[in-house]
Symmetry: C2
DNA sequence: CCCTTTTCACCTAGGTGGTAAGAT
DNA sequence: ATCTTACCACCTAGGTGAAAAGGG
């Protein structure tokens, strides 16, 4: 699918206002989404599968950009899985939100030309339920959802890539952000104009510590190469 | 050992003039150097062992730096190994030098604080004797199982961190360079002031396609974890 | 003869879900 | 009951030198 873009482009810097992002592996994401995607969270951190990957266009080839992701609660509910009906049921209000974090793409910062040359893959991003994470922590400011503020410390590019902390049995929407690295001295004052955000609804998921829906398990085994050991026959190579 | 510094520091930018680099694993390097270090070069590219690693100090924590390496012929000779005397003999003049290349550290550019925080390791650097370094045919990574190919260009551009081309049976001196990323518009005109170079004599080596000195082979097997399969007993951990 | 290339068994390193035990 | 953790076999991915084969 094509970019579900963030808040209105009004007043955006020209270096980001034409930026576009196409989600890769869209048909796989949709196959999972139809069943209700689940993502494992562990203490040590677990990769997402499918991996969040985008193809970028509309960047200034010569300008510097930082790419990052964060994860937004889709509602304030806690869920449980009803095995008898094979469906998710709301089960009370959400637990206190985990400390918001962002994950910078490890290649950040880089030129627009470099980002657009190839598919950008967030395959090193890991999800955890461990609140005590010694990695550098960068607070997620609630920019984008109505608010037009930039996270502090984005421009200095902390170059830390902490794990993302989520609550199990809660639903999340991954978000992807393109941030123009403004060389102006006073760039903080233009920060709200220098980024553009993308949300792909087909990438939303339920965080779990163990898979609940057996059809999700089977689709993971069938499509994730690292789970090949659990495949039975081979219907199609 | 401490930094063998490059040409005189006269006229260097203050962002690099105090930079210092300490070679890590110095005793291992010296142990190899006493025997006459050999490094394998292959068509596909081979890592160095020991890995070139340095601890940096004296950088401006808030300034941006690029770190890179290159390899300088130590003389204009070609060598051959005399097994009867277990020694290297000069055997004519050097072959035409391979196209000079540099290897940028993959984390470049980054702040001085980031570089100084931990040991900088060039463990992704690879040596090759292949003049047609078409690193372009990149194997598909995950979910490239069988025919299910990933769109090309998912991996980092091979052009940004090319393999180092060397002539087998020739001697080389690795060099390490710290380059201050000058934000000034006219920065090209100050380029000669904005870097500082380091050469550690104990890291010089002979490029080979197969080990010649059997004691070098044994020391590689004893000290490189990836060669553990060739170890016999275990005298000392 | 000297050197290079290819293939291979054997490693390191780390990503999977299954399973059983543990926690609440 | 429901959810979490620890450990495991089984994978992917790729870094070793040995040995045999190839090339001048």
């Amino acid at each position: 699918g094509w970019a579900g873009e963030g808040p209105g482009a009004g007043g955006k810097n020209r270096r980001v206002c034409h930026a576009a992002a196409r989600l890769e592996m869209g048909s796989l994401w949709e196959e999972f989404n139809r069943l209700g995607t689940e993502m494992i969270v562990t203490k040590a951190g677990r990769r997402m599968f499918p991996t969040f990957q985008v193809k970028l266009s509309g960047l200034d080839p010569l300008a510097d950009y930082v790419l990052l992701m964060d994860f937004i609660p889709l509602d304030d509910k806690r869920y449980r899985y009803a095995f008898h009906s094979s469906s998710w049921l709301a089960a009370g209000r959400a637990e206190p939100a985990a400390p918001g974090r962002v994950h910078f793409h490890p290649d950040s910062p880089a030129k627009g030309a470099q980002w657009m040359r190839q598919i950008v893959s967030f395959d090193k991003l890991k999800l955890t339920n461990n609140l005590l994470d010694d990695n550098g922590h960068v607070r997620t400011p609630l920019w984008g959802d109505g608010e037009d503020t930039m996270p502090e410390g984005v421009l200095p590019s902390p170059l830390s890539h902490p794990q993302i902390i989520l609550n199990s049995m809660h639903r999340y929407q991954p978000r992807f952000h393109v941030v123009f690295v403004d060389p102006r001295r006073d760039s903080e004052r233009f920060a709200h104009q220098n980024f553009k955000s993308f949300s792909f609804p087909e990438t939303q998921f339920m965080a779990v510590t163990a898979y609940q829906n057996h059809r999700i398990t089977q689709l993971k085994i069938a499509s994730n190469p690292f789970a090949k050991g659990f495949r039975d026959g081979d219907p199609e190579p």
